[in-house]
Amino acid sequence: MKSTYELAVLYHPDLEIDIDKAEAKVSKIITDNGGEVTNKESWGKRKTAYPVKGHEHAVYVFYAVELEGASVQKIESVLNITDEVIRFLIVKQDEKAQSKAASFRAKRKNPDADEKPERTERHSRSDRNEEGER
């Protein structure tokens, strides 16, 4: 059975110019292991909170991947020896908690309406006073 995983990849900062090549390599790793990239989110080059393998910066890309549970370990072992990738993280998406939180926020914003799966921004909430923010 396939489930949705989130894959966060930190690419080598020098690869920012031709990131496509490195991304193609990672996509190939995923597809070779029976996975499928359903969504991609690029943050670009960003300063890391601490040096990662001696680099102060990294190119952040997040993927939503449909994966077979058994192939996660295989992908991890390949990514570990990929030079372009300096750090990565594969986690299963907690869809239950996500949708529950989203519907709760929607309900709280609009108590009369029925459950809405649409995501509401935290900071646009009117019921929260300013003192509670920090």
Partner: protein, 68 residues
């Protein structure tokens, strides 16, 4: 700083490890995760928060130890 950072004592909230802005509200100036007494979260929420913070630390979005 107010004692209770949030008052999300009912319902569920989901913490995304990519949401740096939110996670940063729940760590102190040294980058440590705040205790439940201060965050005002439920047990389940605090566990999810801790997990999200640890994931964010792993991909270097927030520091393990903040040095200001």
């Amino acid at each position: 700083m107010a004692k209770n950072i949030t008052r999300e004592t009912t319902g569920s909230i989901y913490f995304d490890y990519k949401d740096v802005k939110t996670l940063q509200r729940y760590v102190n100036q040294y980058g440590q995760i705040e205790v439940r007494k201060r965050t005002g979260l439920t047990e389940m929420q605090q566990r999810r928060l801790a997990k999200a913070i640890k994931r964010a630390r792993h991909i270097a979005l927030i520091p393990f130890i903040a040095s200001n």
